[in-house]
Symmetry: C2
DNA sequence: TTGTAGGCGTTATCAC
DNA sequence: GTGATAACGCCTACAA
C-alpha cells in the first residue's frame, strides 16, 4: 500500500503538501503542485490510511448506532434513514445490535467508545443506559426515545403520551368497551408515557374496562401473550400495542384464534414501519417521523456543543387509521 | 484519557511491559510487575487506544458485513447469527447496508477497506461484486451466495438449484399445473441456479405450464408484481419465490385479490426467516442453515490462509412444508 | 508556498 | 525479565 511519503517522493514534494492536498487545507497548495500530487497519488493508487488519520486527528468520521434489535424492521428502517441523512458527509454508520440484551448493549457501548466513534445514536433496551460512560469519554449521544436523565445526553422523540392517548381514543370512538394496552417488557420512561396516555383516554370514557399486559418487543412473544389473552376469559375487543411488531404478533394470534380483525378485534400499532401497509389486514398505527428524526440527529451531532448542552426535541407524529382498527373513527 | 505511558510511569516500568501485560505477550512479565501494572491501570482507568493499537499491529479486530438490505429480516437474522458466532472473540461486526444499491455497495466496499477491517462477509446486490478490490487490499472475503468468479473470494452457500427443484416438485406433487417462479430482479449466478432447479422440476412433469417473473427482493415490489400476475389472464395456481420477503408480498397480493392461500394459490418462500412461523398463513420455505453458515464463516475467516486459497462450501438446506402450500405433499 | 519535524498511542525488536 | 526506541502513517505547528 502506497503511503503519503511515497506520493510525496514521486511528486517531488513533502508529506505535508500531500496532506494539504488531500484535506484541502489547512494550508493552500500551488495549482501545479496539487496536480503533481494528484497525478502521483493516482499512479500509485494512494488511499490515505484512515487509522493513521484518526489517530492523528482525533476524529474517526464514524457514527455509532445502537439499536435494541436489528431484526425489528423499525430499527432497520431507522438505520437506513440515519445512513441516508449522514451518508453524504463521508461518515460511516456503525450499526450495533443489542439483540434485546442489556449485556450486549453494554459491550457495544464499550466497543464504540474504544473505537472512538465521533458520536452515538442510541436506542436503548434499558431505562438507564450508560450515558455517563459516553459522557466521560467525550462522545456526544442522541437518544431516540425519552430519557430518564436528561443531563448527559440529548434526545429526539415524539410525545408517547399524546400518541397513546390519540390511539386509544380512536379505539374508544369505535365503540369498544374493553381495551388492552400491550406495553413493553419492563418499566421505563417510554413505557410510563404510553401507559399515562392510555389511562387518560380510558378515564375519559366511563364504563370502559381496561388493562395492561407486557410483552417483549417481538412478534413471536407478543403472539404468545396475545394468544393467551384472546383465549382467556373476558376477551378484549381492542388492543393498543406500543410497537408494530407486537401488533403483528397480535394479528397472528387473532388469526390462530379464529378471530377476524377488525370485526372481532381491533388492533393498533406504533412506529409506522412499511410493513403496516402490507400486513393482513393493513395496520393502523402511530407513524414516527423517521426521516425528520434522522435529519435532526445528524444536524445535532454535527454541532459539537451538544456534549455540554444536551438538546431535547419533541417532534410531531401522525396517527394513521387503517383496516386493522376498522378505519377512521365515526364522527 | 490515560495512556500506556502514564500507566508505565505510575507502575515504575516501561510501556513495553504495559503492552506485554495487556496482550499476554509476546514476552512474559514477572507476577509482581504484572500486578503493579494492573493496579496502576485500574487506578488511572486506562483503556488501550484501539486506533493506535490497530495502526501498530495492522489488525483492527473487526469484521465487515455487507448486506443488500438490512430491512429484510433474513439479512438482519444473518447479521445476528454472525455476531453471535464471532462475538465471543472480541471482534466487532460492522454492519453495512447497501440499501439495494450497487453504488452504495461500492461505497461500503471502499469504506471498509479504508478502515482496514480484518475480513469481510459479503452478500452482494450484484453478480460481480468488487472482489478484486478486497483481494488487492489483502482483505479475505467470504460470500454467502454462489459466486461467478471463485478465485478471489471464498463462499458458503446452499445448493440453490437443488432447493428450487425440491420446492417446485413439492408444488407439483400437490397437483398444481400452472406454476410461476418469482425470481430476483436481475440475472445472477444465484438467479440462474434457482431457474435451473425450477425448470428441471417442471421438465419432469409433463403438461405443466410455467413461467418466470422478476421482482425486487422486497415485500412491496413483490406484492405489486404478484397483484398484476394474479389479476391478469391465466392466473397461476402456485408460486415459488426466491426469498421469503417476496413470498410475503405474494401472500398480501393474494389477500388483496380475494384469493385464499393455499386453497386458490400455493406459495413457497426461500430463506427460512422466523417470520415464516407467524405469517398468515404460515409460510412453506427452504430453510437456510444460518447458524451453521455463521459458524463456518467465522472459522474460515479465522484461518488467515483463505486469502490465497479460497474455500467453497455447500451446506445442506431443509425444506419445510407449512400451510401456505397446503402442508406436506401427498404421498 | 513548501519543507522539517514532533506527536498521536501502540507494538515489537533489540539490547541489557 | 525489562527498558529504550524505532516503526505504524498521518497531521500540523513552525520555520524557511
Amino acid at each position: 500500500m502506497a503511503t503519503a511519503r511515497d506520493v510525496a517522493r514521486k511528486a517531488g514534494t513533502s508529506t505535508a503538501v500531500v496532506s494539504y492536498v488531500f484535506n484541502n487545507g489547512p494550508r493552500g497548495v500551488a495549482p501545479a503542485t496539487r496536480q503533481r500530487v494528484l497525478a502521483a497519488a493516482r499512479e500509485l493508487g494512494y488511499r490515505p490510511n484512515a487509522l493513521a488519520r484518526s489517530l492523528s486527528s482525533g476524529r474517526t468520521r464514524s457514527i455509532g448506532l445502537i439499536v435494541p434489535d436489528i431484526c425489528n424492521p423499525y430499527f432497520a428502517e431507522l438505520a437506513r434513514a440515519i445512513e441516508d441523512a449522514a451518508g453524504t458527509t463521508g461518515n460511516l454508520l456503525l450499526i450495533a445490535d443489542s439483540a434485546l440484551s442489556a449485556d450486549q448493549e453494554r459491550r457495544h457501548t464499550r466497543s464504540l467508545i474504544d473505537r472512538q466513534v465521533d458520536s452515538v445514536v442510541l436506542v436503548s433496551v434499558r431505562d438507564e443506559p450508560d450515558l455517563r460512560e459516553f459522557f466521560d469519554a467525550g462522545v456526544p449521544v442522541v437518544a431516540l426515545h425519552p430519557l430518564s436523565d436528561r443531563r448527559l445526553a440529548s434526545s429526539i422523540t415524539i410525545d408517547y403520551e399524546a400518541a397513546a392517548q390519540r390511539a386509544t381514543e380512536h379505539l374508544l370512538a369505535h365503540g369498544h368497551r374493553s381495551v388492552v394496552l400491550l406495553n413493553g417488557p419492563v418499566e421505563s420512561t417510554g413505557a410510563r408515557q404510553h401507559r399515562a396516555g392510555f389511562d387518560r383516554a380510558v378515564a375519559g370514557a366511563p364504563g370502559v374496562r381496561s388493562r395492561m399486559v407486557r410483552s417483549e418487543i417481538s412478534r413471536h412473544h407478543a403472539a404468545e401473550v396475545a394468544q393467551e389473552l384472546l383465549q382467556g376469559p373476558d376477551r378484549p375487543r381492542a388492543v393498543y400495542c406500543t410497537t408494530d411488531e407486537q401488533a403483528f404478533g397480535v394479528l397472528y394470534a387473532a388469526h390462530r384464534s379464529g378471530l377476524s380483525v377488525p370485526a372481532d378485534l381491533a388492533v393498533v400499532g406504533f412506529d409506522g414501519t412499511r410493513n403496516c401497509l402490507v400486513s393482513i389486514p393493513a395496520l393502523t398505527t402511530v407513524q414516527q417521523p423517521m426521516e425528520a428524526m434522522a435529519r435532526r440527529v445528524v444536524e445535532i451531532l454535527a454541532d459539537r456543543t451538544v456534549l455540554e448542552e444536551p438538546v431535547h426535541e419533541v417532534l410531531g407524529f401522525e396517527f394513521i387509521a387503517r383496516d386493522s382498527s376498522g378505519g377512521p373513527a365515526p364522527g
